[in-house]
Amino acid sequence: MEEESGEELGLDRSTPKDFHFYHMDLYDSEDRLHLFPEENTRMRKVVQAEMANESRGAGDGKAQRDLQEEVDELVHLYGLEDDHELGDEFVDENIPRTGVSEYPPYMMKRRDPAREQRDWRLSGEAAEAEDLGFGGWGSAGQCQDLREAYRYTHGRASEEYECYVIPEEEDEEEAADVFCVTCKTPIRAFQKVFDEHKEHEVIPLNEALESAKDEIHKNMYKLEKQIIEMENFANHLEEVFITVEENFGKQEQNFESHYNEILETLAQKYEEKIQALGEKKKEKLEALYGQLVSCGENLDTCKELMETIEEMCHEEKVDFIKDAVAMADRLGKFLKTKTDVEISAQPEFEDQTLDFSDVEQLMGSINTIPAPSAPVINPQVPNSATGSSVRVCWSLYSDDTVESYQLSYRPVQDSSPGTDQAAPSPPIIKTKEIRSCEEAVLICWESGNLNPVDSYTVELTQAESPEASGVTDSASLYRSVVGIPTCESVVQLQPGRSYIIYVRALNMGGPSVRSEPATVHTIGSYFRLNKDTCHPWLTISEDGLTAVRSERRTPARELSPSDTHFTRCVAVMGNLIPVRGHHYWEVEVDEHLDYRVGVAFADVRKQEDLGANCLSWCMRHTFASSRHKYEFLHNRTTPDIRITVPPKKIGILLDYEHSKLSFFNVDLSQHLYTFSCQLHEFVHPCFSLEKPGCLKVHNGISMPKHVTFY
């Protein structure tokens, strides 16, 4: 056992005498299952064989596995399961090592790690087998091994199977051992000599097995291929089926709409015509009726005159003459009035040729394929352009059949002449308000224009070195973000680089020139203290990194509560970029300073102390009576922690991913404490000074190695 373990460790040394290993295996050797009571005897056999075959190398191990598998399969396939003797041998061989066998003997497919030491099955003949190109179906080596198996079971040499002479011992089994090709049936060797098989061709059973297997295998392969083909075809058919339905639908719709259109137009024309005819008729009839009426009137008058004249003729001479004169007058007048005997309206209706050209057109268009509706170009996506190429995407919002698209373009000058509007002025980046982390930057700017601007474009180039500010326009553009509607943008970046940022404004007249550049370094996190949140007793430095609380003599008057700046805790918050991931910064403090440093949500109650609510977490130091006291506050609770060396520089790690906030003594690389915090929103660094003094924030520091452990 000693040598064994020595080998496993790969060490080469002499073992001290009083040195015994005992392996703490998961199963102690006593606990292993003993399925076969004769295990020990077999074990001895195995060991003996081991000794005899020690020259075997590990290369045989693989061969062995294949062997085992092949044989098992064959055994299973050819219904040799009942032949227990055959199966048992393999079972026993496995037991001594693994001890736990749940499979029935003939289904062993274990990969045994200690195979190297069980080479008893491969003897000289098997080595031959290897030389014959062992490894795969139907090779001679396989046959060899099957024969080997038989050999050990039946105690016969393999060569015996190749001769067709009746072996003397043939009285145990009735198993067929050769194959008659002519009759396609297995027979016993001696049968070859007798009766019907005399003239027939005979081959050894193993070969027959092999070739039969081969055949089947080949066909199996073909079958498999066919299955795949047919399945693919079936899928394809399904797709086509669906497409046919779809196309039918389209055609139906198309035709129906055309057809309906035509019908509608015809109907309309019918209505129009009928109406027109009706009106015409009415006109004519009215005219005629009018004429009839006046005719009737005329007639009446005539008749009346006639009657009067007749009456007159029967009057006395004197009356007759009086009336006759009057009558002659009347008659004269009357007959002067023209009687219109022209028929005012003709009975015929004129032929009106109807204009069916539009219907004709419609009918004609039934057969034509309509041109598709115009595609809509999508607005330009950010990051889709480089200096020499642009990615254009469009969408088609109809069901029209389209065969192809045609794209054409023309370059447009920056300040294209002939436009009504002048391009805007460049924006001005608020460099002091840039916040960044290792993966992104938040830039904001002033519009730089009195008139409204359509959108802004942010352009970034990579700086080779942090000082390379004299970059020309031809420097390779790393990224451009277009279509920004507001005066700020968050851009994703690569860690550990430096970038130069420009912004342009855009309107109908085109883009402005680039703004003045700003530089960003994606090392650590950058933020500044936010003066808007600052308690009135704190002063923030110009660079936004130092907070000072001076000695004050003013009476502590009650400051009215505010939502933006701290009124009780003399604190200030920083503006951390609202990006998850991790952020690291350091704070420099004086040993005797009373301070709190940590993080808080933007809407933390400004009338309360940091750490006194569940919206803030902080490390608090108080120095009193020459004693340093440290607390880690959240929701007014703190663990009981003593720190013997007061930190002068505190490293703070905010890890959104693992919901942790950790504090470190930077100079000693010492971990102080870690909060587990629920960060459902973004938090900002916060700092407070409980006594006059100052603290300084250090930014843009890459996480030191000792911090990475947390």
């Binding site: 040195f19 009981d640 013997t644 060396v645």
Partner: protein
Amino acid sequence: MKFAVYLPPKAETGKCPALYWLSGLTCTEQNFISKSGYHQSASEHGLVVIAPDTSPRGCNIKGEDESWDFGTGAGFYVDATEDPWKTNYRMYSYVTEELPQLINANFPVDPQRMSIFGHSMGGHGALICALKNPGKYKSVSAFAPICNPVLCPWGKKAFSGYLGTDQSKWKAYDATHLVKSYPGSQLDILIDQGKDDQFLLDGQLLPDNFIAACTEKKIPVVFRLQEGYDHSYYFIATFITDHIRHHAKYLNA
């Protein structure tokens, strides 16, 4: 002497740093490896962990099994100078010399990277080994250590038995005293102490003395008093990951 060794997966391909664990009173080499739950963390950080026994066994010394806090299972990590203990009870030399030699020669460890930690009496052992051998250990930590044995009942009993009555000899094995004259390189000490630990309340552990001394000498210590925890292995299992990470920070630097 029996000891337990844990080899992480990384040890299969190369040498790893070694972390020594010293157990407390009545323990053997089995307690830590079965109860502390250190495996995952040690595996993650690729550290070899070695846990020796707490005393020699079966020495047939009269009185060795009389009490649980002296003799068998209570070696106190000192080299005894008194009879009948001085021949066999040399746990200090065993832990600082004999065992590392054996480990370095037989296991895939890097002899230059070694750290030490322990519990209770083992915490005391870890602290004194580190303080008496500046630079030998990259880091040290302890669970509920006996910080000032010279002043507590356990320490007095053991030291008088192993070292005799000369208290100056005692101080050489007392962490609080050793700190006061510690000349050496920077040590970063992490100590966890259960607040409900009976032995703390009984005055056996006396961490305040040690902290005061460290504050005075500016030896960096982070001492955490854990609410609700006692002296048991459940306490150790809860915070073992923090300790292993603490050591990994220095051993894998």
